[in-house]
């Protein structure tokens, strides 16, 4: 079992008319925690709070630790927590290469252009997409977008990855392949992962599972 990377305690989410108390969460390096629950229950809100964004109309409190260090009050960009949404959100004004370059960690952004290019092309070659380096993101298929999205997030070397319904936009055939590839990559890089989905198939069989608790009156 890997070392605990992400842990939380006493998370309470309060909406104007109801609240949800979450049990403590603990995710180890290279492991996946699947959170399942109905749409609109607050799973995505939890992920956005974990990454460092407080949402309007929901007051979320609790403690978050990454590698044993509290990240409360730490800005999003310093938490080492990556996030991937269902619609991937590749930046439409940048091509594939520049999207990936944007994802390089701060230290690597200081490297020469040639070195940055080499690193990115190496990653693209690994997923057989090097010929798409200069392609506009709008020309990519759903599967290609998903792969570039994850690659961009992983280039940044996050300690934790949050996946928000990551495969929901893909067709059934592609979904299975991309799912396997995604979890394979995350495990290989020892990233602690939380995935939220309302589809049990999106959560790996060996993952820990958390069922979204019942809401209580506010």
């Amino acid at each position: 079992m890997g070392k605990t990377v992400l842990s939380t305690s006493d998370i309470s989410m309060r909406w104007p008319d109801h609240r949800v108390e979450l049990p403590p969460i603990q995710v180890n390096a290279g492991e996946v925690l699947g959170i399942m629950g109905p749409s609109g229950s607050g799973k995505s809100t939890l992920l956005r709070w974990l990454v460092g964004e407080q949402q309007q109309f929901v007051r979320t409190v609790g403690s978050i630790f990454v590698d044993g260090v509290s990240v409360q009050g730490v800005p999003v960009e310093q938490r080492k927590i990556g996030i991937l949404f269902q619609d991937v959100l590749l930046f439409p004004h940048l091509n594939v290469f520049d999207n990936l370059r944007f994802g390089l960690p701060a230290a690597q952004r200081q490297l020469s252009i040639a070195e940055q290019t080499e690193r990115i092309m190496e990653q693209l070659r690994a997923i057989q997409m090097s010929k798409y380096a200069q392609a506009a993101v709008s020309s990519l298929s759903g599967g290609q977008r998903a792969r570039i999205g994850l690659l961009r997030a992983l280039l940044n070397k996050p300690r934790v990855m949050l996946l928000d319904e990551p495969f929901a936009a893909l067709d059934a055939r592609l979904r299975c392949r991309i799912r396997e590839w995604t979890y394979g990559q995350l495990a290989e890089q020892q990233v602690a992962t939380i995935v939220v989905s309302h589809d049990p198939d999106d959560i790996p069989a060996n993952a820990n599972k958390l069922y979204w608790p019942e809401a209580r009156d506010a």
């Binding site: 460092g52 800005p75 960009e77 930046f91 940048l94 709008s138 996050p158």
Partner: protein, 534 residues
């Protein structure tokens, strides 16, 4: 979190100060003058009742007709042609239209045998027509933006699938929702029509004038009695502007009630006939374009004419002499207008951007009201209060700063009108993704949000600059007569009898304002499409 990145307390204080200071200054200016108010003197001033009813009548007629036109035409009109009309500065447009429609004007020379003397210079009808021609494109433009925010096409399909005609669905379902979204622009139109000064000085009756013009003239008169009348008149303008806002709400309520009633009952024959007649108003947006083109042509011709007497369609001779003579006098005003507009425009967009981000962080619900308040208050009242507060008499540079400051609230308001809906529709998760990839909030904003919102940002800059170029009253009063722009020059030229001179300055103002708008919106289109293509 964003708060930490903004180093927020300073930024927040700065933004609030920038936003609130003009309003606070206006309130303080008013409070300082409370003792000076003299309602008895105001109400016994000769012609005061006529001034008030003229202003109210103009505002109500313009608002009601403009609303009807919007209800009839919004579905069919494209917004692209509207921008060219909105891009015409009020004063230049007024000078051009007056040369067209007054009894010896070009229009009647082009249409021999038709003599219409309804639209003489400084007639109420002329004033109403010019306001309508200016305000209808603005409202249609706002209506387009409002329609983009409601699924009206789907509503029309649903209505038709349930057996209602398209027209009925439009009137009973879409129109009430549209009017609700147009409430603020309609209030702006009503208050503007009531309190406008520059157009009124040229086109509205002067004996007596409208109350707004009279307040302006009292302000220019340095006697204490006149100043007292100016402040009291300003407050009456404010109260009546509030009344006009209620008229807009009342109009919306009545149309809403009618729509609701007709959902469960048939539209009567009379109503059907009225609706058919209203369709005739659909010609007005086309007329605004025709008048815009004709006014431009009239100004161009006038500026290079020699010996153009009634009823000649064309001048006896063409000459560039007027241009050559005025060239060296025009440029300083153009340069100063452009310089002020550039500073005001950039500051306005910066301020609106920061305010919108702070609004998101702090969930400010009433930001729009604060930002748009200067458009709902008679401009002369704000300017009077600022003038009282600043009461500046110092170095030349100081006057320039006060002029820039006095343009800001109006430019900020229009920049907000353009930018806020687009910013609201922007998927903020892009910035979150950028931050999760290790970039600070503002770096993410700069590298992701700014390029993706480049189109609206350029458009709001263009509009903010355009509004600054067209400001007359704030420039004149806060500039203490020491800051001359092409707009103040134009007003001075229009007040004389040399029509060629007025035409030259009107064209220069037109070219400057339209050049800014077309140049920056062209850039906006280019940036918008290149961001979308990739």
């Amino acid at each position: 979190m964003i708060v930490a990145q903004l180093k927020t307390k300073g930024g927040l204080a700065l933004a609030l100060l920038a936003l609130g200071l003009p309003l606070i200054a206006a309130v303080l200016g008013l409070l300082l003058n409370l003792r000076q108010l003299n309602f008895v003197a105001l109400l016994s001033y000769p012609g005061i009742c006529t001034m008030i009813w003229q202003g109210l009548l103009v505002a109500i007629v313009v608002t009601v007709i403009a609303t009807l036109v919007v209800m009839v035409s919004s579905y069919a009109i494209s917004s692209s042609g509207l921008r060219s009309i909105i891009a015409i500065p009020n004063l230049a447009f007024t000078v051009g239209i007056l040369w067209l429609i007054t009894p010896t004007g070009w229009l009647w020379r082009l249409l021999p045998g038709i003599e219409v003397d309804l639209f003489d210079r400084q007639y109420l009808l002329t004033f109403i027509l010019i306001l309508l021609l200016k305000e209808i494109p603005f409202l249609l433009f706002m209506s387009h933006r409002a329609l983009q925010q409601i699924p009206h096409q789907k509503w029309l399909i649903i209505g038709q699938s349930q057996g209602h005609s398209k027209a009925k669905t439009w009137w009973l379902i879409v129109i009430p929702a549209l009017l609700k979204r147009l409430r603020l622009p309609l209030m702006v139109v009503a208050v503007y029509s009531f309190s406008v000064i520059d157009i009124a000085l040229l086109a509205a009756p002067q004996l007596p004038s409208t109350l707004a013009v009279q307040v302006f003239e009292w302000q220019l008169n340095f006697t204490p009695d006149a100043r007292r009348l100016a402040y009291t008149g300003g407050l009456v303008l404010l109260a009546l502007s509030g009344l006009l806002c209620l008229v807009v709400i009342g109009q919306e309520y009545l149309i809403g009630q009618w729509s609701r009633k007709r959902l469960s009952s048939q539209v009567s024959r009379v109503e059907r006939l009225a609706l058919k007649l209203l369709k005739g108003l659909g010609a007005l947006p086309v007329l605004t374009r025709v008048f815009g083109i004709l006014a431009l042509g009239a100004l161009l011709a006038q500026s290079v004419s020699r010996g153009w007497f009634y009823p000649a369609i064309l001048p006896a001779d063409w000459t560039l002499q007027g241009w050559l003579q005025e060239w060296s006098y025009i440029w300083p005003g153009v340069i100063s207008a452009l310089g002020i507009a550039l500073i005001v425009g950039l500051l306005s967009v910066l301020l609106v951007t920061v305010l919108l981000e702070l609004k998101r962080t702090y969930h400010w619900r009433y930001l729009a009201i604060w930002v748009l308040l200067p458009l709902l208050v008679p401009q002369i009242l704000l300017v009077l209060s600022w003038h009282q507060m600043t009461n500046y008499s110092g170095s030349e540079a100081g006057y320039w700063l006060w002029v820039i400051w006095s343009h800001m609230p109006f430019s900020v308001a229009y920049a907000y009108l353009v930018l806020a809906p687009q910013e609201h529709a922007f998927d903020q998760r892009y910035v979150l993704v950028g931050r999760a990839l290790g970039y600070s909030f503002w770096r993410s904003w700069w590298r992701i949000k700014r390029p993706l919102l480049a189109g609206p940002l350029y458009l709001s800059l263009a509009l903010a600059m355009f509004i600054s170029v067209t400001q007359y009253v704030p420039t004149l009063i806060l500039g203490g007569g020491r800051v001359a722009t092409v707009t103040t020059d134009l007003m001075a030229a229009s007040s004389g009898i040399n029509t060629q001179l007025a035409a030259i300055y009107a064209l220069m103002q037109w070219l400057l304002a339209t050049g800014i708008l077309i140049g920056l919106t062209g850039l906006a289109g280019q940036r918008g499409s290149s961001a979308g293509e990739q």
